[in-house]
């Protein structure tokens, strides 16, 4: 008992609860178990669990929330940085063209293009303008838009049904059929449009019906989604929890630093973290 905690060189370490790790395929504990015969290793694990319980109780709910809110902000800042386009602190002047073109860099031949060329706006400004217009008028460029179009109709994920082979057969047999249906813009349906009875939901073994002319036309005519609505949505709640990695070496982040929440995989990597990077030094 007594020697357990001493195996840790620092007190800021917590073992990740195993209930959590069970959901993650390939999570590190799978491999650690292989070494369970090693007595020192076993002691290491026991010590970790004990530590988790005691330090966990020592933290107030507010402290925990503050940590996770700060971590969330940190994650968002990092994603913004990872997706930034331009050099941050370097001003790059645009060189003058030596010949041809339309003169100076900013010039502009018409009042419209003069305005465009001298605009210092960034993408986020254009996006904000458009979102504001949509919120105010329900329209973009004079056309009705649904700001939540993409998220409004959640559809059930595919289930394993022996359907597709039949569609395939049906479609291939149709590919040579004469006189396909014609849509606006000179589009033609490559198949006979569906009858649109809508009762296929009741028949589990049914071939999913092909869209009707009207449905196909509506798909082709649908306006673009807004920038925000087109963003890939989060996964279902049943998705496995996010994987975490060792900050020092990139292996699974099996241990959590209680000072800053960062993860490491081993005592060695944890020591590097504490010596060089633990946020407690910056806080």
């Amino acid at each position: 008992m007594a020697e357990g905690p001493l195996r840790f060189r620092t007190p800021h370490i917590e073992e990740i609860p195993t209930t959590h790790s069970r959901h993650q395929p390939g999570f590190a504990w799978v491999t650690v178990k292989k070494d369970a015969a090693d007595p020192s290793k076993a002691a290491f694990e026991v010590a970790g669990k004990k530590r988790a319980r005691t330090t966990g109780l020592g933290q107030t709910e507010a402290q925990r929330e503050a940590l996770s809110a700060r971590q969330q902000r940190e994650i968002e800042r990092r994603i913004r940085d990872l997706n930034s386009d331009n050099a941050r602190d370097v001003n790059i002047p645009i060189p003058k063209q030596t010949s041809g073109g339309s003169g100076g860099a900013k010039a502009g031949k018409t009042s419209n293009t003069k305005k465009i060329l001298s605009s210092g706006k960034e993408f986020k400004h254009y996006l904000d303008d458009e979102e504001a217009e949509l919120a105010r008028t329900g329209k973009i460029d004079g056309l009705e838009r649904d700001p939540d179009a993409a998220v409004a109709q959640p559809v059930q994920r595919a289930t394993k049904m022996p359907i597709a082979r039949r569609i395939q057969r049906e479609q291939s047999s149709m590919s040579g059929s004469p006189g396909p249906a014609t849509l606006a813009h000179g589009l033609t349906l490559p198949f006979e449009p569906g009858a649109g009875t809508g009762d296929e939901e009741h028949d589990f073994d049914a071939v999913p019906r092909l869209p009707t002319m009207e449905e196909m036309q509506a798909l082709v005519d649908a306006p673009p989604l807004t920038y925000n609505a087109a963003r890939s949505a989060p996964g279902p709640a049943s998705a496995p929890p996010a994987r975490v990695f060792c900050q020092t070496c990139g292996y699974w982040g099996r241990f959590k630093c209680l000072k800053c929440g960062e993860r490491t995989c081993s005592v060695e990597c944890e020591a590097v973290h504490v010596a060089d990077r633990c946020l407690k030094f910056y806080a």
């Binding site: 997706n83 060189p95 569609i167 589009l187 490559p190 999913p208 449905e215 996964g235």
Partner: protein
């Protein structure tokens, strides 16, 4: 309201020559195509030009677009990019680059002698704010003076490209694929676009905010934190990524293979994944390169400059595949969005089930990041496991995934009838105005 019942734009003005300009955030893909040409367009006619103005802190020179080819020292090179988040935002710098590449081009083969006698096909990203669409149209007609113009979402052009699937019948020039999902793994982001006869089905288009630049920046951060300060070395980090990164087919297993283990349970690292990357110093070593990892004492001495010239070296192991993994598992950096496979399924779910098979059999992958080894194999395998086995899934990588959209545009520009349906002439723009042009490009006119 625009004039009604105009089934075709006046044909008078359609020029023979079309400039196809796929205006990417990282590179411009550009070149000419001729109406009614007798042979398919050649990839050699497509020029890949850095879409950036770069400034060197070392030689104090500013490089515009293809001038970067002359650059000898990419150390601490800083970049200004007209395309931000995938959208053409800064026209001041884009104009400087276009003028350099198309109007001051010398003998590169890209010189546009008479824009008024040239058709322009220009790509833009999906869901562009209207103000940016208008800016594009105004600049093309009022500043550059092109005679005819089509502003297309980039994946539309890909639908006109040659099929990446063996055994598919050859389509005539200007005929798009019947159904396709174009997965564009670009520099700024990754988009999934179902297209029906070349037209994007907008309600089913999705964007995953992980792109080539996300990966480069992630690699830069990891290497800087773990080994060597690279934070100002965008060019170098991108090259390292292109040289050594790959998409793992079994992430958990590969991660185990390169773990050193703890002090009590050391592991033997599988050196088939580990590489040494020798960083360029832009003097004796002009370009970085990878070589098999050498853990020996002598190798370490050389790093210190003992017994030979000093080398700056980084050892890359799990970085090689944890970085590209972000496209498939963005939650690895805490991003909420589903990964690429989930994003493709989101696109599918917005379509009637009766269409799924047609789209799943035609998943076309384009964009620079799709060239990472293992990308297409992993995508196909993961997609396969997420779908009922009855669906036939085909994932295809075109001959050149970077130039594929350009090639599609170049094929289209050989077909007079197809071009007439799509372009707007400068005269029409002057007569009908900017709103009319946007309606036309959105497919709301000419029924």
């Amino acid at each position: 309201m625009p004039r009604q019942k105009q089934s075709k734009p006046p044909a008078a003005g359609l020029a023979t020559k079309t400039l196809i300009l796929d205006n990417g955030a990282h590179t411009i893909k550009a070149g000419y195509s001729l109406l009614n040409a007798t042979s398919p367009p050649s990839l050699d006619n497509c020029h890949v030009i850095p879409n950036t103005i770069a400034r060197s802190q070392r030689d104090k020179r500013t490089y515009v677009g293809s001038e970067l080819d002359e650059c000898q020292d990419f150390g601490e090179l800083a970049f200004k990019r007209p395309v931000e988040k995938g959208f053409l935002v800064n026209w001041e710098s884009e104009k400087a680059i276009w003028e350099h590449e198309f109007f001051n081009a010398g003998n590169t083969g890209l010189q546009c002698e008479a824009p008024e006698e040239t058709n322009l096909i220009l790509t833009e990203a999906l869901s562009a704010p209207i103000a940016l669409q208008r800016h594009c149209d105004e600049m093309v007609f009022e500043e550059f003076g092109f005679g005819n113009y089509w502003r297309a979402v980039a994946p539309s052009l890909s639908a006109y490209g040659a099929s990446p699937f063996k055994g598919d019948a050859e389509r005539p020039m200007g005929t798009p694929m019947e159904c396709a999902i174009v997965v564009d793994v670009g520099y700024s982001h990754t988009t999934t676009t179902p297209l029906f006869q070349g037209k994007p089905l907008h309600s089913a288009c999705r964007r995953l905010e992980i792109g080539g630049k996300t990966l480069t920046n992630q690699l830069k951060d990891l290497v800087s934190m773990r080994q060597f300060e690279l934070r100002k070395e965008d060019w170098m980090a991108n090259q390292i990524k292109e040289d050594v990164c790959f998409v793992s087919q079994n992430f958990e297993q590969d991660l185990e293979r390169v773990w050193k283990g703890g002090s009590k349970d050391p592991r033997v690292v599988d050196h088939s994944i580990v590489v040494d990357y020798v960083l360029p110093d832009y003097e004796s070593i002009k370009r970085g390169f990878a070589r098999p990892h050498d853990p020996s004492f002598n190798a370490r001495k050389r790093q210190l400059g003992i017994g030979g010239p000093r080398e700056d070296l980084v050892v890359l192991a799990n970085e090689r595949f944890t970085v590209p993994e972000l496209v498939f598992t963005p939650s690895d950096i805490g991003m909420q969005s589903e990964g690429l496979v989930g994003t493709i399924l989101q696109s599918l779910e917005a379509l009637p089930k009766g269409l799924w098979q047609a789209f799943l059999a035609n998943v076309v992958v384009v964009g620079g990041t799709s060239r990472l080894p293992g990308f297409v194999e992993r995508l196909e395998a993961d997609l396969r496991t997420k779908l009922p086995e009855e669906y036939a899934v085909r994932v295809g990588l075109p001959e050149d995934p970077v130039k594929h959209a350009w090639t599609g545009g170049a094929r289209l520009a050989q077909n007079e009838e197809a071009m007439k349906q799509l372009v707007v002439s400068k005269q029409e723009y002057m007569e009908n105005g900017d709103v009319w042009v946007r309606r036309k490009f959105a497919g709301k006119l000419g029924r």
